[in-house]
Subunit: 201 residues, 2 copies
DNA sequence: TTGAGTATATTCACTGGACGGTATACATAC
DNA sequence: GTATGTATACCGTCCAGTGAATATACTCAA
């Protein structure tokens, strides 16, 4: 065959993505990924050095699209900063109602591999969440919020909390509750539009 | 030997608890649990019908002590409701700095077994979190907070969010951030002590 | 234009080990 | 002499990773 490397690689990653996300890392064998991709395990091992490598590639491939999705949800929501933040949670709740939804792949991987803190996949997950947090912070700061850093962390906590809680209870309404909380915190952090001097901590 | 059933059972659960919490469910073999408990796998299977049973027993054994710990942290913190809520997070941050800390066993199990939503262990985890949420709600309501139900959910989201985020970044300071957010939300929900009529949503 | 040689890509068949669970037998306590 | 409890040894399966061979595309000299 000798197709260009990237095609096969991406087919493998696509297969891995579906399986790892749906059944967890340790719940999916390399054979299963190869079968889903329509090739032999040996071929898979030609393109990836190890299962750990494959897991890292799976998460790396989800990094940018995930971020872009959140940013789109934010951009497409009408209204002020609090509304737009709440919009992210509303969209998330909607997507969590899809039957194939299984929480956040990054968080689930970090939970599953908690005993291997140095695992490349965990580093990728951590970097992903940091990117999101930074984007929030910059958004807040350019929206006139002084302590954008703190608010960004709080929103992130609510977001990841809703991933965890909704995965456990299978009740996406928690995401709407999280959205309300996020809105409250954002409103409280917003400058009062009247007096505007120090107002710090 | 023929020791009373409960002794051996509890020794097994204690061993399982350490191993499952530290290395995850699928990362620990039944043999490993038996070895840690100082007996044979066959003996273990005399006391538990399957690994799934054992996993459920592991979480069931953590239910009450965990709840009691949170309640103690709440009770032992001086001050008003917001302070006491923040106290939970502060204590949690302290415990998360212990080298053996690996997040919340209930959440990690639900993440690992996400593809088996009916698994008994997940039901136990869900019930545990519901108990905690209910305790929060009752605490808030008897503290004079009208919408205690919503606030309880928000606090829970922050708490579980901090479990997830700290597990990923290995940075317990997120728990203090979550505690601040929890305090803010609690303060905002507290009656103004002055005008007190509707003030609803 | 072709054909030899090389790098890329894929397959089949296998290994060594771990894993969940069980058949059978033995020991102790009441 | 039967309930309970523990141990040895085993079964069938799955799983991450590999060795050896093969097939295809690419390069470049004749």
């Amino acid at each position: 065959m000798a197709r260009p490397v990237t095609d096969t690689r991406e087919r493998i990653i696509a297969a891995a993505s579906k399986l790892f996300y749906s059944d967890g890392i340790r719940g999916v064998s390399v054979d299963a990924v190869a079968a889903k991709a329509g090739l032999t395990k040996r071929t898979l091992y030609y393109h990836f050095r190890s299962k750990d490598d494959l897991v890292a590639a799976y998460l790396a491939a989800r990094d940018q699209p995930n971020l872009a999705l959140f940013q789109r949800w934010f951009a497409e929501t009408e209204g002020g900063l609090p509304d737009k933040i709440e919009g992210i949670f509303r969209n998330l709740a909607r997507s969590a109602r899809h039957p194939k939804w299984q929480g956040c792949g990054f968080l689930r991987t970090s939970a599953e591999l908690a005993n291997m803190p140095g695992h490349p996949a965990i580093k990728i997950g951590a970097a992903h969440k940091k990117k999101f947090e930074n984007w929030l912070r910059m958004t807040f700061e350019s929206g006139g919020i002084g302590e954008g850093s703190r608010l960004a962390r709080q929103i992130l906590l609510l977001l990841d909390g809703s991933f965890a809680v909704v995965l456990l209870h299978r009740d996406p309404s928690y995401m709407e509750t999280a959205g309300e909380a996020a809105r409250s915190l954002t409103e409280a952090a917003l400058p009062t539009r009247r007096k505007r001097t120090v107002a710090g901590r």
